[in-house]
């Protein structure tokens, strides 16, 4: 008793303590993609090792796939070599690959939950820092480097040290026009981009209780942007409802047994935390970033800060950010001209994100000066959205409707910013050069705020653009 979910999952997956004091932790589910896995398979070959549990590794291709012309071979030879390498590594090792022709391809953090592979009480690893997304199901999910991808392939384990747990409560009801994205941007703004170092974040409180599974994923997704490698929400009826009937979810009597187990993995009411932080949902407004890390964020009605208004340790980064973003301290962020609007990514590329935006943009038009693209997070999301008529609404409004992938979140495919373009983006990182142009500028925000920027041609308050009261 008095245990957190992390304590319970950690104990259930501990294989042994290694000589250097680290835990050899069993990783029940391993997700791989084309960018961080080929070198790991190469290392396995060099060491003459095999994949220990091929049935517990699942692959998809997301970072490098073009979102417009998807016929192979890709025009980019390097991208083409990467998808081919993944295909042959999966075939050779008996790994399930949600490849382009399967209709199940997509961003790895959208595919896992969609397929029912992501389950409560499990451990998950993937060579991608946004693996924390899966924590929304009460899984302990780690972003890992390529050498650890090798470790998991060869041994289904990793050497890890147990993190501390910070409970983050958000209580109350969000105002209309305020979303899960604003919640996590606000948390990172307040706790800092390295505030989570050494911690797992357990998100809870009445706001999270009321959140849908997809909203929880948006928050958990960005845990790493706050420095926390792991973020999770305790599983509840919302979680079970989401998972029921998905391809890899337990069926029949196994389902009932699984739900009983999953319920028992939630943190005990008297669980002990290393730290507790509480926020009031009513205090959160639509939030946008003004700088070059996700912690450099302000409410839409605030002004771009002066360097001397931020804590001294953050001042030099603030100056660098202002120079890169070409923003002037003291000016409102609202009204900043936007060149590109990107709706997608593992943070906000799910069906509910597209539904919410489509509801408001129906019958309206993207500003002439803006290139607006919608990139569904998976082929599954795309196909449902198309059958619901959402794609048509976006196209009629002047958005380009693309194929599934990571796309302009990090510009590893042909979708990139050009020059100093400013992008209103529903993604997770505003690092310098992140969206493919070294001088490109990224402003992170919720999907509806991206839509508001697309329609008005400038950073806007979606509540004003869409008359939300």
């Amino acid at each position: 008793m008095s245990q957190t979910l992390l304590d319970k999952v950690w104990a259930a997956h501990t294989v042994r303590t290694l000589p250097n004091g680290a835990t050899q932790l069993l990783i029940g589910t391993h997700l791989i993609h084309e960018v961080t896995s080929p070198q790991a398979f190469g290392m396995l070959r060099d060491l003459n090792l095999k994949v220990l549990y091929p049935s517990r590794t699942f692959a998809t291709v997301d970072h490098i796939v073009p979102t417009d012309e998807r016929a192979e071979p890709f025009s980019d030879d390097l991208a083409d070599a990467m998808i081919k390498a993944l295909r042959s590594n999966c075939a050779e090792n008996g790994i399930t690959f949600f490849d382009l022709p399967t209709g199940k391809q997509g961003i790895v953090h959208i595919v896992g939950p969609e397929q029912g592979i992501t389950q409560p009480g499990t451990t998950i690893a993937c060579g991608d820092s946004h693996t924390s997304t899966h924590g929304a199901f009460g899984a302990i999910a780690f972003g890992i480097g390529t050498s650890q991808v090798r470790d998991v392939l060869a041994t289904q384990t990793m050497a890890l040290h147990k993190p501390k747990v910070r409970r983050i409560n958000v209580n109350g009801k969000l105002s209309p026009g305020v979303y899960a994205k604003d919640v996590i941007l606000h948390i990172i703004r307040k706790l800092g981009v390295n505030g989570g170092l050494g911690y797992a974040y357990e998100y809870g409180g009445t706001t999270f209780d009321a959140f849908t599974q997809e909203e929880r994923m948006t928050v958990c997704n960005m845990s790493i942007e706050g420095g926390a490698r792991v973020g999770y929400v305790n599983p509840d009826e919302t979680t079970f409802e989401y998972l029921k009937g998905r391809p890899y979810s337990p069926k029949g009597a196994d389902w009932d047994a699984a739900v009983a187990r999953w319920k028992a993995t939630a943190s005990d009411p008297d669980a002990k935390y290393d730290d507790i932080v509480t926020f009031d949902a009513a205090e959160i407004s639509p939030t946008v970033t003004w700088g070059i890390n996700p912690g450099q964020a302000i409410f839409i009605h605030e002004k771009v800060p002066f360097p001397n208004e931020v804590p001294e340790k953050d001042r030099s980064t603030a100056e660098e950010a202002l120079a890169h973003m070409l923003l002037k301290s003291g000016n409102p962020i609202k009204g900043t001209k936007v060149d590109v609007a990107f709706l997608g990514s593992c943070t906000n590329g799910r069906l509910s994100d597209l539904q919410e935006v489509a509801r408001y943009i129906k019958g309206r038009k993207v500003n002439k000066g803006v290139k607006a693209i919608v990139v569904p997070g998976s082929q599954g999301v795309a196909s449902v959205a198309e059958s619901m008529g959402l794609a048509e609404i976006f196209r009629e409004a002047g958005f380009e409707w693309r194929g599934a992938g990571c796309s302009m979140c990090l510009g590893m495919n042909p979708d990139k910013l050009v020059g100093e373009q400013l992008c209103a983006s529903s993604s997770n990182r505003n690092f310098k050069g992140r969206q493919g142009s070294p001088t490109g500028r990224t402003v992170l925000m919720s999907p509806l705020m991206v839509a508001a920027a697309a329609l008005s041609g400038e950073i806007s308050d979606a509540r004003e653009v869409f008359g939300i009261k």
């Binding site: 997956h13 294989v15 050498s147 310098k432």
Partner: protein, 200 residues
């Protein structure tokens, strides 16, 4: 797999100032289109170096005075962002063998240790002092001593800290966990058998 016991790293230093130097900065994503880590070294801090050049300046990594430096000094939260091992791989292949910063992001830190590249923590004040010494004498040799937990340069010692488990792993030659993990395979199978989702 016997690995080298890393107790000391010696070499010249280079100071790349800045806090929150993220992994996109260390290796922009467009250079990750590769299926091996070979050749990543030349892309370390690629955009930052190109910017400096375009503005008629010289990035420390391109400054001839620091050519061949193997100990990198920087600010806080070094390596934040993505889990890409390409970042420490690029620095290693550039010739870096140890990093000294005020703090490190967790995944970057782990990835670096696994390569046998120590990441040690020093106070910002000391880092700036060492940076001044390097600036005034770029040929000065630095010695990072993990046993004594200090950095020495020109008869001066500066205290460093490193997470105990990483320290242990480096000095005992166990910084790559794969050998230890493989020894536990039987225990892995036993543990996996207790988890219904792994049996399914």
């Amino acid at each position: 797999m016997a690995l080298e016991k890393i107790t000391q790293v010696g070499g010249r230093g280079v100071y790349v100032p800045g806090d929150d130097l993220d992994t996109d900065r260390i290796i922009p994503a467009r250079f990750m289109k590769c299926i091996t880590f070979d050749g990543l070294g030349e892309f370390a801090f690629y955009d930052a170096r190109a910017f400096a050049k375009a503005e008629g300046q010289t990035h420390p990594l391109d400054d001839a005075r620091f050519t061949g430096a193997s100990i990198l000094l920087s600010g806080s939260n070094f390596g934040c962002g993505s889990s890409r091992e390409h970042a420490p791989q690029a620095l290693y292949r550039f010739g870096i063998r140890a990093i000294i910063a005020e703090s490190f992001a967790e995944i970057f830190f782990g990835n670096s240790i696994t390569l046998g590249m120590p990441c040690v923590v020093m106070s910002g004040e000391d880092i700036r002092s060492v940076a001044k010494l390097i600036e005034s004498d770029p040929a000065a040799l630095l010695t990072l001593d993990l046993t004594e937990k200090k950095l020495s340069i020109a008869d001066m010692d500066f205290p460093i800290t490193i997470a105990p488990h990483a320290h242990e792993a480096l000095v005992t030659g166990k910084w790559d966990a794969i050998a230890d993990l493989l020894e536990g395979i039987d225990a892995v199978r036993t543990r996996a058998a207790t988890l219904p989702y792994m049996a399914a």
